[in-house]
Amino acid sequence: MQGLYAVFKKELQDHLSSYRFVILFALIAMVSFITSYMAAVHMRGNLEGLASTKFPFLMLFSTPGAMFSMVQFVAFFGPLIGLILGFDAINRERTQGTLIKVLSQPIYRDAVINGKFLAGVMTIAVMLVAIVLVISGFGLAFVGVVPGIEEMWRLFIFLIISIFYISFWLGLSILFSILFKSIATSSLASVALWIFLSFFISLGAEVVANTVAPIDRKNEVQPEVVLENARIKEMVSLSSPMVLYSDATATIIDPMRKTTRSIILVGPMEELLSARFQNPLSLGQSIVIVFPHIIALIAITLICFAISYLVFMLQEIRT
């Protein structure tokens, strides 16, 4: 325990005082400023004259202002935070000869990897909380929206999911830093996997869906085929943590969304009808919809860390 705490404390200090952190933080603070500013301008324009909107506060996070919303930003670039915090966690210590020194002190071997992972998670949490506070403060000052209790809860859940999401990437990069002895290799490998899982999978999903259930555009389009196609696409793209995260947070942060599906087959009249009764989902209902996604996200994070843990515990350490 004492070993874990010592490693955790040192790693956290290192993170918080590193240039890496300062640069990341500056970047993120800047982006969150811009997105929330854009969202706020956008909202002002749209909310003008409306008697009441439900959940104006959350719109600060979910409204894509000029380019993307805060939620999209975290989905796209959050992984980079995790990767940057972890890609050299173990192999740097190996090359500089400090790993063997630390491990020859009276601590359990897992204290090192647990301490490093927890310090990374803590750093991620600090960053995300700070961003959310910045945006909230901005919303209060600029648009004058005050968050309700439910909105706060939703934000809190959003934060937790985001921490797990970025921690997944942290775990992954720590795994690579254990597997690869060279820092260049481990950083390249983690970035490559990030690009693959985040950007190529959605392309791949399209290809797979179109081969398995091709939509015949010449003849009359059959609804079953379209549905099948969409279902396959969705299944494949769910293997991307980014999609998993986007889907999981979408309904949490936007109460008007009722499903994670992208395609909903309704006739025009139905849509007209239902639009008149648009009501936000309750928090509980929102959670129920994305519960599998949240569980899956937490599971892959834990699995990823567990693999790193096992590999590290069984490894031969000489330097």
């Binding site: 004492q2 070993g3 010592a6 490693v7 404390k9 040192k10 290192d14 210590e93 500089q96 000869g97 400090t98 063997i100 020194k101 630390v102 491990l103 020859s104 002190q105 009276p106 601590i107 359990y108 071997r109 031969e316 350490i317 000489r318 330097t319």
Partner: protein, 250 residues
């Protein structure tokens, strides 16, 4: 006073794939002894030390250090054993004091306890002037001294020193040797050291072991080894001569 065996190995073997790094090592080191490990590069000295610390898993055989099995009680063994690796590394952005503080932290020291100890140790290894210098700016010898200080923080019963005088200037080497000898005398610390500097080993060690290609081919006091190889005579043989003789025979 009866001296007890503090390190014991039986048939300790380590294989890397088809290569045998340490082959059936059976050895006893008594409490309060300075034992010198000799052998050419790749003989298996470092591997042996790593197995004794429980950092490396033996392919065969067993060991006890301070009466504990390093494989199952690694943490407890490491409480008593200070290990100075052959190329000891430091966090470049820490200064000497911070570096020592971290090691003290890992050993579970309270803040106040460590402070005093750290000052004493820096004095002991002659780094008082460099206490607030970043370790990245340390010379090879200064790093070696800091490494020794770090090892001593936990008040070890046993020291494993892997080439402790490597890269030190002659004066620094003598200081470290004196330090090791005085720790051995005053605190009865058992020392297991590996070195390529035969003069230094001869000066310090009570007993030596010669290891070649993973096999311990000779073990005993320098006098007894000389007797074995050259017979009893007028002449005092240096460790160098004895070592070369063994080496040529393999």
């Amino acid at each position: 006073m009866e001296t007890e065996t503090i390190i014991e190995t039986t048939d300790l073997t380590k294989r890397y794939g088809r290569q045998t790094a340490v082959n059936g090592l059976t050895l006893k080191v008594k409490e309060g002894e300075i034992f010198g490990f000799l052998g050419p590069n790749g003989a298996g000295k470092t591997t042996t030390l790593l197995m004794l610390l429980g950092l490396s898993r033996p392919s065969k055989g067993a060991a006890t250090v301070c009466g504990l099995d390093p494989l199952r009680m690694s943490k407890e063994v490491k409480r008593h054993v200070g290990y100075l690796p052959e190329n000891v590394g430091f966090y470049g952005d820490m200064d000497a004091v911070q570096s020592l503080e971290y090691v003290a932290d890992l050993n579970g020291f309270k803040k106040g306890e460590a402070r005093e100890k750290i000052d004493d140790l820096l004095d002991l290894v002659g780094l008082k002037e460099e206490a607030r210098k970043k370790t990245a700016a340390f010379s090879r010898g200064m790093k070696q001294r800091l490494g020794v200080a770090e090892v001593l923080i936990k008040d070890p019963k046993v020291l494993f020193l892997d080439e402790p005088t490597l890269g030190l200037d002659p004066e620094g080497a003598i200081q470290i040797i004196d330090l090791i000898q005085s720790l051995n005398k005053e605190k009865n610390i058992t020392v297991l050291l590996s070195s390529h500097n035969l003069h230094q080993v001869q000066k310090m060690s009570h007993r030596v072991g010669i290891m070649i290609g993973g096999n311990l081919i000779a073990e005993g006091s320098i006098d007894s080894l000389a007797e074995e190889k050259f017979g009893v005579g007028e002449k005092e043989y240096s460790l160098e001569e004895i070592y070369m003789k063994y080496f040529q025979e393999v």
